[in-house]
Point group: C3
Chain length 481, copies 3
C-alpha cells in the first residue's frame, strides 16, 4: 500500500484524497496528528473480523469487472442509491426468483457514477475514493462525465496479475485476515488456501448462528448436519455440545482464534443444564416460543464462553440488528440487502448471566459490539471497565466512520480507558475497502490522540505508543493473531 499512497497522495492537486483528511482543523493539533499518523500509516493490517470470501484467496481468480467489485455486492453502496429511488434490479442485485436484473457492468457503473453525489460526506465515498486512487490510480472524481474512462482503467487493471486477490492482499500489507464461516461449512476454500502453499495468513472464525438459533432457517437440519460432520449425536444435549467442541477444534485447525455470534438482542442466560437440555429438545422439535428461542441463543453464548475457557477462542457478540425490515425486499432479493436496521439494545441486564458465569476469568476474552451508540458511555464502558473478561469491539457497521469512531472514543475512553478496547475491525465484504477502512481508523485515532495531548489529557511522549497499540498491537493481542 505504501508506494501507491505515496505516489498519488503527496501534494498531487489532482488527488481524490486530501493528505490531511480527518485530522483536527487547528494547525498545531493537525500537525501533531499528522506526525502520529506518519508512524502508523504503513503498519501491517491486522483484520481480525470480516466477511471477505476465502474463495478469492483459494482460487486467486481475477475479479470480473468494476461494477461487481464496487457496486453489486456492497450494501452500503446500493442501499444509498436505492434510497433515492433506483431499483435494485438496475444495480444488478440478483433476484431470488432468478428474474431479470441488469447484467451490463458498464451500465451499472454509469448509474453509480451519475449518482455519486449522493455519497457526499459518507464513509462509502471516502472508501471508494481511497480504493480508486490508491489501488487503481484514479485521480478524477467519479461522475457521469468520468464514468467510462474510470471504468476502462479499472477494467484493464483487473485483467492483470497485479490485481488478483493474492497480489492485492500482499500489496495491502495484510499480516492476517479472518473470514467468517458457518459452523457447518466444510472450510474447503481454507483447505485449498493451506494446500496451495501461499504464505498469506487467512484464518476462519466460528459462526454457529445456524446451529444455535432455533429461529434460523433449517435449524434442526443444520444441527443434524453438524452432528454428522462432528461424528456426534447432536440430537442430544450432550452430543450437541460435544459436536460444537469438535467443530471448534476443526475451525481452530484452520487458524480460527475466535467465534462470532449475531443475535437480535444481547440477551444471555446461564440455565441449569437440565433446563437447557429440555429447551434444546423443544427447539429441535420446532416448538420453541419466541422467548424460548431467545433463551436458547442466550444460553448458548454462555456455553460458548465455557468452551472458550478450554480452547482459547475469543468470543465476539454482535447484537441488535433488526434484520430484513422490508418483507418485500427479503422475498424479492433475499438477506443482506441493506434492510438491517439497528435497534435499541440493552446490555446491563442482558449480559449479567454471562458475566456472572465467566466475566471474572481474565484468561477469557469476550468482545462485545453495539449498533446502539447510547450504550457506549452508559453501559458498555462501565461494564468493560470492571469485568476482566470483557472488551469493547470497535464501532460497527453504520458507525464505522469518522463521526462514529470519534463518538466511540469520546464516549468510551474516560470509563473504559484504552486497554479495554481491541483496535479496529474492517468487518467488510468489499476487499478493496480494507486499506481504506484501516486508514480511516488510524487517522481518526491519531486525531483523537492529538486532541488529548493538546488538551493535557495525555502526555506527548505517550501518544506514539498508543497510536501503535490502536493500529496494530491491540487487535493482534486481543484476537491472539
Amino acid at each position: 500500500m505504501e508506494r501507491v499512497v505515496e505516489g498519488t497522495e503527496s501534494g498531487d492537486t489532482m488527488a481524490l484524497l486530501d493528505d490531511d483528511r480527518l485530522f483536527p482543523t487547528d494547525p498545531a493539533v493537525r500537525s501533531l496528528a499528522r506526525e502520529l499518523y506518519q508512524a502508523v500509516r504503513d503498519l501491517p493490517i491486522i483484520s481480525p473480523h470480516g466477511h471477505t470470501d476465502p474463495r478469492w484467496f483459494a482460487e486467486n481468480a481475477a475479479f470480473s469487472d468494476p461494477a461487481s467489485l464496487f457496486v453489486t455486492p456492497d450494501h452500503y453502496v446500493f442501499r444509498m442509491l436505492h434510497s433515492q429511488g433506483i431499483a435494485l434490479e438496475a444495480l444488478g442485485v440478483p433476484r431470488v426468483d432468478g428474474g431479470e436484473t441488469e447484467r451490463d457492468s458498464r451500465r451499472i457503473w454509469r448509474l453509480f457514477a451519475e449518482n455519486y453525489h449522493l455519497f457526499r460526506a459518507t464513509p462509502s465515498r471516502m472508501w471508494v475514493n481511497h480504493a480508486l486512487q490508491t489501488v487503481f490510480g484514479v485521480t478524477e472524481r467519479l461522475s457521469a462525465g468520468s464514468a467510462d474512462a474510470i471504468y476502462d482503467r479499472i477494467d484493464a487493471q483487473l485483467r492483470t496479475e497485479a490485481f488478483r486477490p493474492r497480489a492485492l492482499f500482499e500489496r495491502f500489507n495484510i499480516e492476517a485476515i479472518s473470514t467468517t464461516e458457518s459452523a457447518i461449512d466444510d472450510l474447503k476454500w481454507h483447505r485449498m488456501i493451506r494446500e496451495s502453499g501461499w504464505a498469506g495468513k487467512v484464518v476462519t472464525a466460528y459462526r454457529p448462528d445456524a446451529v444455535v438459533d432455533p429461529e434460523f432457517a433449517g435449524f434442526a437440519e443444520n444441527v443434524a448436519r453438524m452432528g454428522e460432520m462432528a461424528g456426534e449425536d447432536a440430537t442430544t444435549w450432550a452430543g450437541y455440545l460435544a459436536a460444537h467442541r469438535n467443530r471448534r477444534a476443526f475451525f481452530k485447525s484452520f487458524g480460527a482464534t475466535s467465534s462470532d455470534h449475531g443475535h437480535a438482542t444481547a440477551r444471555t442466560e446461564d440455565l441449569p443444564q437440565d433446563v437447557a437440555a429440555r429447551l434444546f429438545d423443544t427447539a429441535l422439535q420446532g416448538r420453541c416460543t419466541a422467548d424460548e428461542a431467545d433463551a436458547v441463543r442466550g444460553h448458548m453464548l454462555t456455553e460458548m464462553a465455557r468452551m472458550s475457557l478450554d480452547d482459547g477462542l475469543v468470543l465476539q457478540i454482535h447484537p441488535g440488528s433488526a434484520r430484513n425490515h422490508s418483507a418485500g425486499i427479503l422475498a424479492r432479493f433475499g438477506r443482506d440487502k441493506g434492510y438491517d436496521i439497528p435497534t435499541r439494545t440493552d446490555y446491563v441486564a442482558a449480559l449479567a448471566p454471562l458475566l456472572n458465569a465467566v466475566g471474572e476469568r481474565a484468561e477469557l476474552t469476550i468482545i462485545v459490539f453495539t449498533l446502539d451508540e447510547t450504550s457506549y458511555s452508559r453501559e458498555l464502558a462501565p461494564l468493560a471497565g470492571v469485568y476482566p473478561a470483557l472488551r469493547l469491539g470497535p464501532p460497527w457497521w453504520f458507525h464505522d466512520s469518522f463521526e462514529g469512531m470519534t463518538r466511540f472514543r469520546e464516549m468510551a475512553t474516560e470509563t473504559a480507558g484504552f486497554y479495554n478496547t481491541v483496535g479496529f475491525n474492517d468487518d467488510t465484504r468489499a476487499f478493496c475497502s480494507i486499506p481504506a477502512r484501516h486508514d480511516v481508523a488510524r487517522r481518526v485515532d491519531c486525531a483523537f490522540l492529538a486532541t488529548l495531548v493538546a488538551t493535557g489529557r495525555l502526555d506527548r511522549d505517550e501518544a506514539p505508543e498508543v497510536a501503535h497499540d490502536f493500529s496494530y498491537r491491540l487487535a493482534k493481542q486481543a484476537y491472539r493473531l
Copy 2:
C-alpha cells in the same frame, strides 16, 4: 431582510449579533464557512411547515404591542421565565377560566427584560436578538435598563405600515410559507388571502389529528363535522375515508402540498380493511382502549399515505411529545403552555407496517421528525438511507438550535447522506423569528460543510451547491412548493 441585516450587522460594534456567529472557531475554517454563507444568506425563505396565523396575512392588521409579539405567545420564552418562578399570569398568558392575568404590555416587557439573562446561550436569545436588531434596529442588549427604550422603539414601529404582516412577509423575503390547519377548519383566512389579490404565497397543510385520534377532545363530533363539510357520511368507514379525500382536495385547492400528523408515538399499522372499519366504529362510539386508539392513529397514517399516492400530498409525522405534563397548568391555562416533554421514541418496529405498505414507492414522500436524538444515527438515518419514500425532517422544536442542528448533521449524514434530508423548517408561531431561524440553519449548515471540506470529507467545489440545497432547493423540492 438583506438591507436590514447589512445595515445593522456589518462591523457595527454596537450590534447585538456577531457577524461570524455559529461559525467554526478555527480561522481558516471560519473563513470558508463565511464564504459559503455569503452565497446563501439572502436566498428567499421557503417555510414549508409552521404555525403562523393566516389571519395576519388575511387582515394585515398591525401587531398590537411588543409583549404580545415577543412574550405572551412564545412558549420558548414564557416557559424559561416560568422555570425560574415567574407566574404565567404575570406574563399575560390567558387563563382558561378567564381569570385575571397581566394586561399591561409594558409591565410584561419589563419582566422579560429584567430576566433576559436567563436566556443566555439559548436559541430564544439569538432569535430575539436577531429580530430586535434586523427587524427593529435595536443595538442595545435587552435589560432592566434598556427595557423601556426598546419597548418604545418597537411599539412605534409596529404602528407603521412597514411593520404590518404583509410588509414584513415581503421584507423577510419569504417565497412560500405553509400554515397548518385542522381538517375541519373552513380555511376562511386562506380564502380571504386569495381573494385579496395579494401576491404572497401562503398555503395551508392538512392536519387531521382532531378527526384521526380517538382520544382527541370531541373526536366523534369532529368526525361528524368533517362528514358534513365533505358531504359524506363519515360515520361509516368508507364514508370517513371519502371525507378525508374530499377535505384533502379542499386543502389542496388552498395550496396544501402536505399533511401533518402529531401523535404520541411513531406507531403505524396496516390493518385489514374490515378490522380497521370495526376499530373505527369502536372509536366513534368512544369505547376504544388506549391501545386501540393508538392502533387507529397508526393505521390512519397508512391510509393517509395511500391517499398521498393519489393526490401527491407529502406526509409529515411528528411523534414523541408527551403533551401537557402538568395537569394543573393544563387546567389553568390550556394546551401548548410549554409543558410538552419529549419522550423516548422507537421507529424501527413502529414504522414497519407503513414502510412495508408504501415505503418502496419512490413517488411518495414521507418526512419523519423526532424529539429523541438517539434515533438519528441508530434508527432514522438507516431507515431513510434505504427506503425510497422516507426522508428525515430537520431538527425539531427543542433541537432547532445550534447544538441540535450540529448533532443532527453529525449523526445522520454518514448513513442518510445529504439527499435524504429536506432542508429546514422553522415550525414557528413567532413571526419575527422566521428570518432568525432560517439564518441560524444556514449558518450551522455552512459551518458543517466548511468542516467537512477542511477535513477532506467533501470537495471544496461541491460545498456551494450543497449549501444552496440545504438553504433552498431541498425544502422546495421535498415539499413540492
Copy 3:
C-alpha cells in the same frame, strides 16, 4: 490550594499538569478560556454533595499511607486495574469473610504505578496527577520506575501536621462541604466536629434509603431504629412520617440543607394516604412485591418533597444505577466495589406524580441527576426548563469528566439555560481529589463559555459572571449553603 498550584504549575516543564489543560485548542478561544479561568480558579470550594468521611475532620488523624489514600478506597482506581485482570485482593480491598488481602501499602502502590498507563486519558489520571502535583509536589509521572520515590515522598508528608485532614481542608480552600449520612446515623462525628470548636464548615445530608426502601437490607429493623431515635412509633404510617420529620430536624441541627435519595429508577408516586399507609404496612411485614417496593420508594420521594416545603431541605434524586452487577464480587467484597452499572432511565412519566404534586412550588428545590446522558436533551432539560421546582444536577459519577461535562453543557444548556443548573458536585470519597475535580469543572465550564463567546452565543462581558456562577454562586444558592 492557590500557592501550591502556582508553585508547581506555572511553566514548570517537569509538571504533571499542562497549564492549559482542557481548554479549547484554537489559540484565540484558548486565550479567552484561560482568562475566564484565572478569575475563578482560586474561588473557595463549595462541595454540597459528597461522601467524605466526617471522622477525618472529627479526629483529624493523619492519613495512614499512600495506598490507602489513593488506591484501596477509590473504586474508580481499583475497578480499572481489576478490568485488566488484577485481583482486588492484590489491591488490598478488604474481603467480607476477612480472608487474606494485600496489606503492604508499598506493594499495592507499586502495582498501581506499574499499571498507571491503564489510566491514560481517564479522569482518574487527571485527578491523581493533580493531587500528586499540587498536594504532594510530585513532578514525575507515576510508573514502575518512579513508584518508590513517589511513595516515600507522599508517605513522609502524610506524617506531618500540614497533611492532616483539617489542614488539607483549609489548604484546599473549602468553604463548605456536605457529607452524607444514613437517616439512622447518630451523627457522632459531626457532633465531635462541632464540639471541637474547629471553624471548618462540614455539614451532613439526610439519606434515608435504609428506611425508605423496602428492599434495603434490614428495612423493618431500620425503621424500628429510626422510631426509637425519633421517639415515635414508626410502625404506623403517621408515626413513620413523624419520625422522618424528627430525624430531618436532627440532621438540620448538624447543618443539613439537603436530603439525598439513591433509587434504582426515577419512579415517583403520589398515592392517596390510605393506599400509602397500607403499602407501608405490607413493606414492614416484608411482603412487598418488587413493584410495590418501587412504589413505596417512589411515593416517599413525594412525601420527602412535602416535608421539604416545611423544613427547606433541598431534595436530591440520584436514580438509575444497577448496583452490584456481579453477585460473586458482592459476596466476596461487599457493596461499592465498582460493579454499579448505569442503566437506561426514564424521567418523563417517572417524575410526573412528584412534579404534579409539588413541581410548581418555586420555594422548593428538587435536584435531579442522571447516569443516562440521553435524558439530558430529551427529558431533563425540557422538564427543568419549565417546572419552577426542578433543577439539573451536574454530570454524575462516570460522567464527572471532561467529555461528560462538555456533553452535559452542550445537551442541556439550550433548553434549560444556565440558571436551572446548580454548579458542581464532587461527590467523592477521595479527599485529595476534591480540588482536582473542582478544577476540572471550572476549566470545562470556562472552555464552554469561551466557545459560546467565540461563536456569538454569549456576549464577552457576560462570561465572567457566568463563570463565577458556575464555580461558586449556583451551588451555594441552590443548596442554601
